[in-house]
């Protein structure tokens, strides 16, 4: 395991964010979860209009303000200062979550502790005793968006796969994830389990199967690998 892991290709987080951005068509309404998924915004093409939603009541969210232009009433879900684009709209929390729950967002990108091959997501609690539980909008996003993309490392720091047969951490949502973008590969959630949509670098489906301990479907042959 150690041996294969050392030979595996891992792309940096920024490159992964760019890879995700590539899959978001112009005109999409998108919610980017706090933390790493926020990076995706930096790679959305500047000549295209993609409308960002923030759960705390805005569509048309713009980038961080320049220093000295911070408006304390204008923040994102991570409570960081942001800006509003021309065409933005504000609304209250019930309307904002109605928008999410009602299936109006095209894409949301979330972090994860674990994703099961059935598409279950665990990203809100490690279940550790004594930890202070907090869920925020994670459960609403997980079940609400048309496409729920997960952005995560494939392995934990201790080398365990975050793609699992069944989640051992407390669930955020059941059968809700549609695709997982990891530093090793992109996986689709299918009725037959995880399908490798794109393996980065020299990674093979066999290697990914070994790393995850899962039976994987090879969907990467459908035209997107070089030389085939």
């Amino acid at each position: 395991m150690t041996e294969t892991a050392t030979t595996a290709t891992r792309i940096p987080r920024e490159q992964l964010a760019a890879r995700i951005a590539q899959d978001i068509p112009e005109g999409s309404y998108v919610n980017l979860g706090i933390g790493a998924p926020t990076l995706v915004a930096d790679y959305l093409p500047e000549d295209q209009e993609i409308i960002l939603h923030t759960e705390n009541g805005m569509l048309g969210m713009g980038p961080s303000p320049v220093a000295g232009e911070i408006d304390p009433d204008l923040i994102n879900a991570g409570k960081q200062p942001v800006t509003a684009l021309a065409g933005a709209a504000y609304f209250h929390h019930a309307d904002s979550f109605g928008m999410m729950r009602g299936g109006h967002l095209d894409v949301c990108v979330l972090g994860a502790f674990q994703v099961s091959q059935g598409g279950d997501l665990a990203n809100w609690s490690t279940g550790a005793p004594g930890a202070i539980p907090a869920v925020g909008g994670a459960m609403d996003l997980a079940i609400g968006a048309k496409n729920v993309y997960v952005m995560t490392d494939l392995l934990t720091k201790t080398g365990e796969s975050k793609l699992v047969e069944a989640c051992t951490y407390p669930l955020t949502g059941v059968g809700c994830v549609t695709r997982v973008y990891t530093d090793h590969a992109v996986f689709d959630v299918t009725p037959d389990g995880f399908a490798v949509r794109e393996a980065f670098g020299d990674n093979t489906v066999e290697l990914l199967a070994e790393l995850t301990g899962l039976k994987l479907v090879d969907a990467s042959s459908r035209g997107i690998r070089e030389g085939e």
């Binding site: 705390n56 911070i70 009433d73 994102n76 869920v135 994670a138 609403d140 059941v174």
Partner: protein
């Protein structure tokens, strides 16, 4: 003449009794009615149940109320933030009760209270710990959990401008829970930056009509907003987000 304005924050929070259930607007610091909370601290009501999205930031506002041990129970979606040390301490010491509600269910349950809905079926949280014990029903091929309204004796809300009828407009994302909490409480108390004459708010743009508002007090510009560092969220380990981008464990709050 209808005049819902009162001259001071003390007058605004007068009469709140021990044991009251109080909704407090705001998402983090945005929309948090800090001046009203300070007045509530001075007023002295004890044994409170608080409904807010979070559980206080830094040492001001809601955090200061918690620090005074006036709160028996808090109902929120995201207590754990990098600057929620006051709540964290109380929680670990077993000195405060926590009811955790997914943010969208929190918002919709508050809305339901204001709109006279008896209960509703929500898909959020189904199959998770947070729906355990709830009535589950399959409707049109999807599973839902039955959720009940959340109402309150009082709502403390921060808005931007009001007229003497209590019509309100908000600023940007500080709107958040204000409009739904205003409708869900028996007595709604609002602080605004500025009072304006009746007729100067555009009727097309009023967000909270005065029917939902009982008392309004002008507090001027909120100086404490400048003071607070604008470091926002926190990762699941409790670290500020700037350092968390590399942890891979981010979730929404």
């Amino acid at each position: 003449m209808i005049d819902k304005t009162v001259g001071s924050v003390e007058e605004a929070v007068a009469g709140i009794r021990d044991g009251a259930t109080i909704m407090i607007g705001g998402f983090g610091r945005a929309g948090q009615p800090v001046e009203l909370i300070d007045a509530l601290i001075a007023q002295g009501a004890n044994d409170l149940t608080i409904i807010n999205n979070n559980a206080g930031n830094g040492d001001v506002g809601l955090a200061a109320l918690l620090a005074k041990k006036r709160v028996r129970k808090i109902l929120c979606s995201f207590p754990r933030q990098h600057d929620s040390w006051v709540f964290d301490g109380l929680y670990r010491a077993g000195e405060i009760e926590l009811e955790l509600v997914p943010q969208g269910n929190l918002a919709e349950r508050i809305r339901a209270a204001g709109a006279g809905i008896g209960a509703f079926f929500s898909p959020t949280g189904v199959g998770t710990q947070l729906a355990e014990g709830k009535e589950i029903r399959e409707i049109d091929g999807r599973s839902y959990a039955l959720e009940y309204p959340i109402k309150a004796d009082y709502a403390l809300v921060s808005a931007y401008r009001a007229d003497r009828w209590g019509n309100l407009v908000y600023r940007e994302t500080a709107r958040n829970f204000g409009p739904i909490m205003a409708a869900a409480a028996t007595t709604t108390i609002v602080q605004v930056d500025e009072l304006v004459p009746l007729g100067s708010l555009d009727p097309e743009s009023v967000v909270t009509p005065g029917i939902f508002v009982d008392r309004v007090v002008a507090v001027g510009e909120r100086g404490w907003l400048d003071a607070g560092a604008f470091v926002g969220g926190v990762d699941i380990e409790g670290r500020p987000l700037a350092g968390a981008a590399a942890s891979g464990t981010e979730i929404d709050q």
